[in-house]
C-alpha cells in the first residue's frame, strides 16, 4: 500500500522544481511508523500508516497516546489471519476488537469498514477528514481479500469542489485577537477542543502535549474531578463521532420480514449473491451493511426491529457481536452469528447453507407465521 501511494505521489505531488510535496519514510518498525504519524499530525500535517494485525499489536501504546493527547492519526489495517503470525497470506476480519479498544486504559476508537477497493479510496479521504475533525486515531479496516485480490468496482470518483476538513485549529489571527485558548476546553459542546500548531504565535497558544492526565488548559493534574471531566469529554467526542462516520447501508427484502442480516467489509459480494439464492428458496432477509464503529442509531434500530438477526463475520469469536452487545442497547438472544474464519474469503455458498440450516432449526414455518402476523 505504501509503495502504491509512493508511486502516485511521485507522479502527482512534485512541485515546480521537482521536489516532493510529500514525505514517505520506510520506518524501522511499526512503533516508529505510528510515532512518525503522530509527530507529523501533531505538527499539523496529515499522515497515515498501513499495517496488518501484528502491526496493530505493536502500535498499541502510541494509539493510546494519540487517543488521550488527542492527536489525529490514520491507520490502515489490512487484516489477515491471526492470532500471532497466524495465516499471514490469508484473510480475516479478526482485528475489530484490538482496533476498537486499542491500548491500555479506557479507550474507544473509530473504525471504518470498507467493502471493496473503491470504498477504501473513499474511506481513506474520509478517515483523514475524521482524524483532523475528531483529533483521534481513525482505523480503516480493510482485509487481505480486498488488499491482495483483483476486484471489479465502479470507477473511483472525486468531487473537485470538496475541501479537506482540517478540524478545529486556532491560527495566529484568532490567538492574536485574544480568543481564549485551552487545549482541552470543550468550547462548542461537542467534546472536540481546539488545537494550535507549533510555532503558531510568539506568545499565545503554546502548550505541552503529554500522555499524562491534565486539565482543560493542558496543565498536568492528577486531581480526580479533573481526570473524570476529561474522560467524560472524550466520551462526548465519541458520541459526536457517531454523527460523522459513514452511515450503514440498508436494503430491505422485497416483502416485509422479521429476519435481518448484518454484515460488513469484504463479506458484501458474497452476501449479495447469497441473498438472491436465499430469496429463491423463500428466505427473505432485510440487510444492513455496517460501515463504521461507533454504531449509528440505524444499526441499533435495525436489530430492535427484527426478531432474528444473522450477523455475518470473518472471525472465530464474533467480534462485531461483542462490539454491538457492548452498546448495551442490543438483545443478545436475537443475534445469530455466522462465522467464517478458515482464511479463505467467505463465499455465498457458505452464507446460504448456514442461514438455511439455522432457519430450518428455528422452524421456517414459525418464521412465516411471524412474518404473516
Amino acid at each position: 500500500m505504501a509503495e502504491a501511494f509512493a508511486g502516485y505521489c511521485r507522479r502527482f505531488r512534485a512541485d515546480a522544481e521537482g521536489n516532493s510535496k510529500f514525505a514517505i519514510v520506510q520506518a524501522e518498525d511499526e512503533l516508529a511508523a505510528i510515532g512518525m504519524v503522530i509527530g507529523a499530525a501533531w505538527n499539523g500535517a496529515r499522515a497515515f500508516t498501513a499495517t496488518a494485525g501484528p502491526g496493530i499489536s505493536l502500535m498499541q501504546e502510541f494509539i493510546g497516546l494519540a487517543y488521550f493527547a488527542e492527536i489525529p492519526a490514520v491507520i490502515f489495517d489490512v487484516q489477515r489471519g491471526g492470532p500471532s503470525t497466524g495465516m499471514p497470506t490469508r484473510t480475516q476480519q479478526s482485528d475489530l476488537l484490538i482496533a476498537a479498544y486499542a491500548s491500555h486504559g479506557d479507550t474507544r476508537h473509530v473504525l471504518l469498514l470498507p467493502q471493496d477497493p473503491r470504498e477504501c479510496f473513499e474511506f481513506a479521504a474520509k478517515a483523514l477528514d475524521l482524524a483532523d475533525r475528531l483529533q483521534t486515531p481513525i482505523f480503516v479496516m480493510s482485509d487481505l481479500d480486498i488488499g491482495m485480490n483483483e476486484w471489479l468496482v465502479p470507477p473511483l470518483a472525486w468531487d473537485d469542489a470538496r475541501k479537506y476538513d482540517r478540524g478545529k485549529v486556532m491560527k495566529f489571527e484568532e490567538l492574536e485577537a485574544g480568543k481564549d485558548f485551552g487545549r482541552y476546553l470543550d468550547v462548542d459542546g461537542d467534546g472536540i477542543p481546539y488545537r494550535t500548531y507549533p510555532g503558531a504565535h510568539p506568545t499565545k497558544g503554546a502548550y505541552f502535549t503529554r500522555g499524562t492526565s491534565r486539565d482543560r488548559y493542558a496543565r498536568y493534574s492528577e486531581e480526580g474531578p479533573v481526570y473524570v471531566d476529561n474522560m467524560q469529554r472524550l466520551l462526548k467526542k465519541y458520541e459526536t463521532a457517531k454523527k460523522l462516520v459513514p452511515a450503514p447501508v440498508r436494503v430491505d427484502a422485497k416483502e416485509p420480514t422479521r429476519v435481518g442480516a448484518i454484515y460488513f467489509g469484504s463479506t458484501t459480494v458474497a452476501m449479495n449473491e447469497a441473498i438472491g439464492t436465499l430469496e429463491k428458496s423463500g428466505i427473505l432477509l432485510d440487510r444492513l451493511r455496517v460501515r463504521a464503529y461507533p454504531f449509528t442509531d440505524e444499526v441499533i434500530d435495525f436489530i430492535r426491529s427484527h426478531e432474528r438477526v444473522f450477523l455475518v463475520e470473518q472471525n472465530r469469536d464474533a467480534q462485531m457481536r461483542t462490539l454491538l452487545l457492548d452498546t448495551g442497547q442490543v438483545d443478545a438472544a436475537k443475534i445469530a452469528s455466522i462465522l467464517h474464519y478458515d482464511g479463505t474469503p467467505i463465499t455465498a455458498q457458505f452464507i446460504v447453507s448456514e442461514i438455511a440450516r439455522r432457519m430450518q432449526e428455528i422452524g421456517r414455518a414459525s418464521i412465516r407465521k411471524v412474518v404473516a402476523s
Partner: protein, 351 residues
C-alpha cells in the same frame, strides 16, 4: 539548581539579545526535579544557548520521551510547543514532526534509560536518517524515577548506591551515534556550563542530526564514591579534546586562524566553527580516529568531552528526501490534491 517562582516583570537592567528577549523569555515552569539535579543545569544551559543565539522561542518544538530528563522540556522555553511522548519513542515523533514542518527548530531531550534501553532502536534510526535537530541525552547511568537501578550506560564495575557492582558492558551513546551516522556528536558535563552552552549553540547551528551526550549526575541515586557518573568522578576524569571558540552563521567571516592551536571547520551550509584544540592529536572530522580515541580513553576511565565528531558535508532528512521548501503542514488542497482529471487517468490505467 531548582527554579523558584519568578515574577513575570522584567527588570530593566536584564540583558537583551538581538531580538530584544531576556533570559526570562526562554524560561519555563518551576522544575520538580531533586534539588541539585544535573538535569536542571542542562535546562539552564539550553536557556542560555537559545538566548545567546537569539532564537525565537516559539519557533522551537521540544520533544521528549519518559523519565526525569523527559520532564525537563516543561522547565524551559515556555512559549514553545512541547511533546512529552512515550518511553523511548521521542525519535519517531520528532522525525514525523520534522517532516511536517522543516522550518521549526527541533530539540529532543531524552535520558539514558529512554535512549539507551527501550529507545535504542529509535535513537539509532533517527541519527542515521539525519533528522535536523538537536538530540540531548541527559545521561546519569541510573533510572532515577524508579529509585536508582543501573541503566545501560552505567560502566562495568560502577557501584550502585547500595554497593552492588554493575556487571554489564556499558552502551556508549557517543560511539554509537558516530557509527549510526550522526553528523554532529559531542559529549559534555552538566557541571561544565560554558562547554555545554557552546556545544548546544554549535549543535543548533548544525544542519543534520546533532547529538550531545551530557553526563548529568543523579544527586539522589548516583553521586556516591564508586560511581563513574558522579560529580566528583566526572570532574576528576573529564578529558576535553577541544573547546568551541566561536560559531559563525551562514554569512562569510574573516578567519582568525592560528595553525596548530585551532581547527576551523566550514560546514556544508556555510556555517563555520572554530575549535580550540585541547588534545593536540584530536581531529573531530576523522571518524575512525575519533572512535579509536574514545575507546582508548574510556578504557583508561576517562570521560572524553567536547565536539567529538563533525561531518562538514552533512545533509538532513528533508534534503535527502527532496521535500518541498514550503512546510508540508502549510500545503492546501490546491497544492496536494491532483483532482478528478488525474483520477480519471488512474481509472483508465486500472481498467
Amino acid at each position: 539548581m531548582t527554579y523558584i517562582v519568578k515574577p513575570k516583570l522584567h527588570h530593566p537592567k536584564l540583558p537583551h539579545n538581538t531580538l530584544g528577549f531576556t533570559h526570562r523569555d526562554y524560561e519555563g515552569k518551576v522544575s520538580t526535579l531533586c534539588a541539585g539535579c544535573g538535569h536542571d543545569s542542562i535546562s539552564a544551559a539550553l536557556i542560555q544557548a537559545f538566548f545567546e543565539l537569539s532564537l525565537e522561542p516559539h519557533r522551537v518544538a521540544k520533544l521528549s520521551g519518559i523519565g526525569c530528563s523527559s520532564k525537563t522540556p516543561d522547565y524551559f522555553l515556555g512559549q514553545s510547543h512541547g511533546f512529552n511522548s512515550v518511553h523511548g519513542r521521542m525519535p519517531s515523533v520528532a522525525t514525523g514532526a520534522n517532516l511536517a514542518n522543516r522550518d521549526l527548530i527541533y530539540l529532543g531531550v531524552s535520558g539514558d534509560g529512554d535512549s539507551a534501553s527501550i529507545g535504542l532502536g529509535q535513537f539509532a534510526h533517527l541519527l542515521r536518517r539525519g533528522v535536523n535537530m538537536l538530540y540531548v541525552v541527559e545521561n546519569n547511568g541510573v533510572y532515577g524515577l524508579t529509585k536508582g537501578q543501573f541503566s545501560a550506560t552505567a560502566d562495568k564495575g560502577s557501584k550502585s548506591k547500595k554497593g552492588a557492582g554493575n556487571q554489564d558492558a556499558p552502551i556508549d551513546l557517543v560511539g554509537l551515534a558516530i557509527i549510526m551516522g550522526a553528523t554532529f556528536v559531542a559529549r559534555s558535563f552538566s557541571g561544565d556550563k560554558r562547554q555545554l552552552v557552546d556545544l548546544i549553540k554549535a549543535a543548533l547551528e548544525h544542519k543534520g542530526a546533532s547529538f550531545i551526550d551530557c553526563i548529568s549526575p543523579c544527586v539522589a541515586f548516583n553521586n556516591h564514591p564508586g560511581s563513574t557518573k558522579s560529580f566528583d568522578y566526572v570532574r576528576e576524569h573529564n578529558e576535553a579534546v577541544n573547546a568551541i571558540e566561536f560559531i559563525e552563521g551562514k554569512a562569510p567571516i574573516k578567519a582568525d586562524y592560528e595553525p596548530g592551536t585551532s581547527t576551523m571547520v566550514r560546514q556544508h551550509d556555510g556555517t563555520l566553527l572554530k575549535l580550540k584544540k585541547l588534545a593536540s592529536d584530536y581531529d573531530p572530522t576523522d571518524k575512525s580516529a575519533a572512535l579509536s580515541y574514545l575507546m582508548h580513553h574510556h578504557d583508561k576511565g576517562e570521560v572524553v568531552t567536547g565536539l567529538l565528531y563533525l561531518e562538514p558535508e552533512a545533509t538532513d532528512l528533508c534534503e535527502r528526501m527532496s521535500v518541498t521548501k514550503t512546510p508540508l503542514n502549510a500545503l492546501n488542497e490546491a497544492e496536494l490534491c491532483p483532482g478528478s482529471k488525474a483520477l480519471e487517468k488512474v481509472n483508465a490505467e486500472l481498467r
